[in-house]
C-alpha cells in the first residue's frame, strides 16, 4: 500500500488443478435413487400443503414428491415443469430454506424439512437427461411477441407464449442466452454447463427465435419492438451496479462483484483467473456470499464480507451464510465503508462501526481498517435506464424499477415486464420465472381476445 509501498497481491493459479475441480464441483450433488426414495417417503403429502403456498410458482410439491416415491420420476418432473419450466435451475438455486422448506411441516415439527429442492432436482435431472421438454404447442395464432432478455423471466415467458401457439423472438444483449443463470449464479451451484442445457430444453418447444448480441437501446429500441411485434415483454434484468460513493472507487482492484462472477462463469480455465490474496466484499446479499465463496475457492487467503447491519438482516439466506463461513469466509457486521486506501491499486478499506438505534443505523465513530488486494461491491444493482434508449422513458418506473400491475403489465398497453427489472421483484430466479409465466398468460388472453 501507499504507506508501506507494497504492491497489490493479485495473481492467477493460486491452487493446484485438482483443487479447482474440487472447489467448483457440484456443492449439493444429485440424490441417488434410493436416497430420493427414502427422502420422498418423509413427505406427509399434506392437505393444502404449506410448501405449495410458499412456492412462488405454486408447484404441486406433495404431488411431485409422491411421484418420486412411486418411481414415476418423469411424471414428477412434468408436475414441476407445468408450473415452472426452469424447475431444473430453481432446484439448484432457490433459497428453499426461505420458501417451501421453511414452511414444510417437518421443519416446523422437527427442524428437518423434506429436502424439496434436492428432490426437485432428482426429478428434473432425470427427465432432462433423456427427454425433451414435454409440452406441445397449441395451433399457431399468427402472433409474434418480442421478449427482451433471455434470463429466467424471458425464457419462462417465451416458453409459455410458445405453448399457446404464439411465435416469439427472444433478444439478449449477451453472447449466450440464460441471463444470470449463465452469467451470475455461483459456479458450484450449476455445473456442467447446465444453464445452456436448460435453455436448449426450453427452446425445444419450438416457435422461439433467439437473437443474442442484441441489446435494448443499442441494437433495438422499444418503439421498434412495439411497432414490429404484437406485444413486448421486458425481462432485461438490471444493468447497473450501485456504487459505494467513496473517493478512489476507480482504483484498480475495486470491482463489481457481478462482473467478476461473470468472468468466472465464462472462464475456460479457473486457474487463469487472477484473484487477490486479501479480499473484502461489501454487501449482504446472495451476490456478496457468492463472490466471497468463489474468490475463497479460487485460493484467496483472507475473504471478509462486511455488512452494515446485523447478520439476521442479510439478504443472503442462513444457508448461504453458513456455507460461506464453512468455506472459510469471515462475516463482519455493523460496519459501513468510510475510506478506500489506494496507491493506484486498492490496498485497504476503512470502515466505521455502526449500531442499531431503534431501527436506525448510526455510526459509532469507531473505525477499523482491513487490508485488501481486491474490494468487491455487492450492494445491489440498478436499472440503468439511460442505456435502454430514449424511448424507454415512456415506461413508468417505481422505486427505480419498472412499475407493473398484477398481470406484470406496464403502463404501456402492449408492454409487459418481469424479473429483476420490475419494482416488486424479490430478485429470485423462481420469482422471475413466475413473472414470465403470469405475463405470458396475460399476453395470451389479450391477444386471443
Amino acid at each position: 500500500m501507499a504507506e508501506n509501498g507494497q504492491e497489490a497481491d493479485i495473481k492467477a493459479g493460486r491452487l493446484d488443478a485438482d483443487d479447482y475441480v474440487r472447489n467448483f464441483s457440484d456443492a449439493y450433488p444429485l440424490l441417488k435413487k434410493r436416497e430420493a426414495f427414502v427422502e420422498s417417503e418423509r413427505c406427509y403429502f399434506c392437505y393444502d400443503a404449506p410448501c405449495v403456498q410458499a412456492c412462488p410458482t405454486s408447484i404441486d410439491i406433495p404431488q411431485f414428491i409422491r411421484q418420486i416415491a412411486t418411481d414415476n420420476p418423469d411424471g414428477s418432473a412434468k408436475t414441476i415443469f407445468e408450473q415452472n419450466i426452469l424447475g431444473g435451475m430453481c432446484a439448484r438455486v432457490c433459497p428453499t430454506e426461505q420458501l417451501c422448506e421453511e414452511l414444510c411441516v417437518r421443519e416446523v415439527a422437527e427442524g428437518k424439512p423434506v429436502k424439496i429442492g434436492q428432490l426437485q432436482r432428482y426429478a428434473t435431472d432425470h427427465y432432462m437427461a433423456h427427454k425433451p421438454q414435454p409440452f406441445e404447442r397449441s395451433a399457431p395464432t399468427g402472433k409474434t411477441i418480442a421478449v427482451v432478455g433471455a434470463g429466467p423471466a424471458g425464457l419462462s415467458c417465451a416458453h409459455r407464449l410458445a405453448s399457446h401457439g404464439h411465435d416469439v423472438v427472444l433478444f439478449d444483449a449477451k453472447e449466450k442466452p440464460g441471463g444470470l443463470n449463465e452469467y451470475g449464479i455461483a459456479a458450484y451451484k450449476t455445473t456442467e454447463d447446465f444453464a445452456q442445457a436448460e435453455v436448449d430444453f426450453v427452446l425445444g418447444i419450438g416457435g422461439i427465435t433467439i437473437e443474442t448480441g442484441k441489446a435494448l437501446g443499442r441494437d433495438v429500441t422499444l418503439s421498434q419492438l412495439r411497432n414490429d411485434y404484437d406485444a413486448v415483454f421486458l425481462g432485461a434484468g438490471l444493468g447497473g451496479v450501485n456504487a459505494l460513493g467513496l473517493a478512489g472507487e476507480d482504483a484498480d482492484g475495486v470491482m463489481d462483484a457481478v462482473s467478476y462472477i461473470e468472468d468466472l462463469r465464462q472462464a475456460d480455465e479457473l486457474g487463469a483467473l487472477p484473484v487477490g490474496r486479501k479480499i473484502v466484499v461489501i454487501g449482504g446479499g446472495m451476490t456478496a456470499t457468492d463472490i466471497a465463496n468463489q474468490t475463497k475457492r479460487l485460493g484467496a487467503q483472507d475473504v471478509t464480507i462486511v455488512y452494515r447491519r446485523g447478520q439476521d438482516r442479510m439478504n443472503a439466506s442462513d444457508k448461504e451464510q453458513k456455507f460461506a463461513q464453512t468455506t472459510g469466509v469471515t462475516i463482519r457486521t455493523y460496519a459501513a465503508p468510510k475510506e478506500l486506501v489506494a496507491n493506484g491499486s486498492v490496498r485497504a478499506i476503512t470502515f466505521e462501526s455502526m449500531q442499531d438505534d431503534n431501527g436506525k443505523l448510526v455510526g459509532t465513530g469507531e473505525t477499523f481498517t482491513l487490508e485488501a488486494d481486491m474490494v468487491f461491491k455487492a450492494i445491489g444493482q440498478t436499472l440503468h435506464c439511460a442505456d435502454l434508449g430514449a424511448d424507454f422513458s415512456d415506461v413508468e418506473l417505481e422505486h427505480g424499477r419498472i412499475r407493473v400491475d398484477e398481470n406484470r403489465k406496464t403502463n404501456l398497453p402492449d408492454v409487459w415486464a418481469g424479473g429483476d427489472c420490475i419494482s416488486d421483484g424479490d430478485d429470485l430466479t423462481v420469482v422471475a420465472v413466475e413473472d414470465g409465466k403470469i405475463a405470458a398468460e396475460n399476453i395470451n388472453s389479450i391477444l386471443k381476445a
Binding site: V38, Y44, F45, C46, Y47, D48, A49, V108, A109
Partner: protein, 443 residues
C-alpha cells in the same frame, strides 16, 4: 430377574425363542451358530424321504419392501431339505448331543401312508431329538405332490396322520397348520382329535409377490416364469395373531398348546403371541433378514418387560389376552369415544382432515379464522380412529372416552351400562327388536 426358561409340551429350552423350520435350520453349521447366538431351540428344516427333493437354481425368494428398503414381507419357493436323510439325521444327533439344553424338534413330511411315517419316526427317535413337528403347511411344490398344505387342508388327513404319529412314537407331536384355509379352527380341532400335543402356526401364506412390468412375469422369476410361494415376515403377523386367537378361544381347542409363528421380529411381537395363548414362538424371517444376533434383544427385552410387569415366569403371560378376545356382537355399543387433537403437538399436515373429509365423516375442520387449524367436530365424530391411524405424530390425536352427558352426534345420553348387539333394538334376533316401520325417522 425373570425366569425365561420354557417348557413347551415337555420340551425344555432356556428361552421361548425357537427358530422355525426353514433355511436357517437346514444344517448343523447354521443351527450351531444359532445356539451360540442364544436361541432356545430349533425346529430342524423339514425332512422327507430319499431321494431328496431338488430346489430351483434360480431365485427362491421375493419380497415387499418399504421405500427405505426395509423388508416387510418375504416369500419363498424353496422346498423341504434337499440334503440326504441320513446326513440330516446324523447332524441332528450330533447337535443335540453337543447342545443338550436346547430344544431340538424335527419337522417331517412324508407321503400319507402309515408305513412311511413309521419308518421315519423310528429314524428320528434314534437322534434323541426332543419332538417332531408335522409339516402340514408348506403351500408350494410339496402340496402338488399330496403333502404339506395338501394334507393340512383336509382335516381328516390331519387327524389321521397325527394319530399315526402319536401311536408310533413317544416324542411330543406338534402339528404345524397352514393358514391357506377358510377356518383355522377346523384343522386345529382335527389335530386335537388326533391326539396332537400342540399345534404351531402359521405356516406361510400362498402368494405372488409382484409382477415384473417389463417381462410380465410373476416374481421371483425363473427363466421367464413364476409360481406362487409362501408369504411370511412382519406383514403376516396380524393374520397369524388372529388365527392363534381363534384356536385359543375355541372351547374345543382352548387347552391345546400353541407355538406361535408369523412375523415375530422383536420381543414385543413375541409377548403378543404369548398373551394370545402361545407357549412359545418360532422365528424365521427376522433371522433371515438380520442374522441370529436378534435373539439377544428378544431375550433382553422380554426379561426387562417381565421384570417391569412383575412376571417371574413366561407361563404367567401365556393367554393373558385371551379373555379379552371376543366377538363383534359382544362389543359394548355404549362405549362412546371422540377423537381429540392436541393442538400443541399438531404439525398441521392436514392428513386427518382430508382422510375424514374424503373418506369418512367430515368431522375435522381445516381452517379457523383463515389459518390452518384441525379440530374434531364432536357432532360428526363417530370415533372411528382413522385420524389417529393417519396422523404422522404419535399421540397427537387420541380417542377419549365420554363418560357423562350426551353424545353430541346422536343426542343420546351417555350410559355407563354395557349394551351390545345381541340386545339392540335393530337386531332381529334381539328380544328388544323393534321392526323398522315402528322406528321414528331420524331427526
Amino acid at each position: 430377574m425373570a425366569d425365561l426358561r420354557s417348557n413347551f409340551v415337555g420340551i425344555k429350552s432356556p428361552n421361548p425363542f425357537w427358530l422355525a423350520s426353514a433355511p436357517p435350520t437346514d444344517k448343523a453349521y447354521n443351527v450351531v451358530r444359532a445356539f451360540k447366538a442364544g436361541w432356545g431351540g430349533v425346529v430342524w428344516k423339514t425332512l422327507g424321504e430319499d431321494p431328496a427333493i431338488v430346489n430351483v437354481n434360480g431365485p427362491r425368494y421375493g419380497a415387499t419392501w418399504s421405500n427405505d428398503r426395509r423388508l416387510i414381507g418375504l416369500n419363498n419357493i424353496e422346498l423341504i431339505t434337499d440334503r440326504p436323510l441320513d446326513v440330516n439325521l446324523r447332524e441332528i444327533k450330533e447337535v443335540k448331543r453337543d447342545w443338550p439344553d436346547r430344544a431340538m424338534v424335527v419337522s417331517l413330511m412324508v407321503p400319507c401312508e402309515e408305513s412311511n411315517w413309521i419308518n421315519i419316526l423310528k429314524r428320528v427317535e434314534d437322534t434323541d431329538a426332543d419332538g417332531i413337528e408335522l409339516n402340514f403347511g408348506c403351500p408350494h411344490g410339496m402340496s402338488e405332490r399330496g403333502m404339506g398344505a395338501a394334507v393340512g387342508q383336509v382335516p381328516e388327513y390331519v387327524e389321521m396322520v397325527t394319530r399315526w404319529c402319536k401311536q408310533h412314537t413317544n416324542m411330543p407331536v406338534i402339528v404345524k397348520l397352514t393358514p391357506n384355509i377358510s377356518d383355522i379352527r377346523t384343522p386345529a380341532r382335527a389335530a386335537n382329535a388326533g391326539g396332537a400335543d400342540a399345534v404351531s402356526l402359521i405356516n406361510t401364506i400362498t402368494s405372488i409377490m409382484s409382477v415384473n412390468l417389463d417381462t410380465f412375469a410373476p416374481e421371483p422369476t425363473i427363466d421367464g416364469k413364476g409360481t406362487h410361494g409362501g408369504y411370511c415376515g412382519p406383514a403376516v403377523k396380524p393374520i397369524a395373531l388372529n388365527m392363534v386367537s381363534k384356536i385359543a378361544t375355541d372351547p374345543e381347542t382352548a387347552k391345546l398348546p400353541i407355538s406361535g409363528i408369523g412375523g415375530v421380529t422383536t420381543w414385543r411381537d413375541a409377548v403378543e403371541y404369548l398373551a394370545l395363548g402361545c407357549g412359545n414362538v418360532q422365528v424365521c424371517t427376522a433371522a433371515m433378514t438380520y442374522g441370529f444376533k436378534i435373539v439377544e434383544d428378544m431375550i433382553d427385552g422380554l426379561s426387562d418387560y417381565m421384570d417391569e410387569k412383575g412376571f417371574t415366569d413366561v407361563e404367567e403371560i401365556v393367554g393373558k389376552a385371551v379373555p379379552n378376545v371376543t366377538d363383534w356382537q359382544y362389543l359394548n355399543l355404549n362405549h362412546i369415544t371422540k377423537a381429540v387433537i392436541d393442538q400443541d403437538s399438531c404439525i398441521k399436515c392436514g392428513r386427518c382432515h382430508i382422510a375424514c373429509e374424503d373418506t369418512s365423516h367430515q368431522a375435522i375442520t381445516s381452517m379457523l379464522d383463515g389459518e390452518r387449524h384441525y379440530e374434531v367436530i364432536d357432532e360428526e365424530c363417530v370415533g372411528c380412529n382413522l385420524c389417529v391411524v393417519v396422523c404422522p405424530v404419535e399421540n397427537c390425536i387420541t380417542m377419549e372416552e365420554m363418560t357423562e352427558g350426551v353424545d353430541p352426534r346422536t343426542s343420546t345420553p351417555i350410559s355407563d351400562e354395557y349394551a351390545n348387539w345381541t340386545t339392540h333394538v335393530n337386531n332381529p334376533s334381539s328380544p328388544n327388536f323393534i321392526p323398522a316401520k315402528a322406528i321414528e325417522p331420524a331427526e
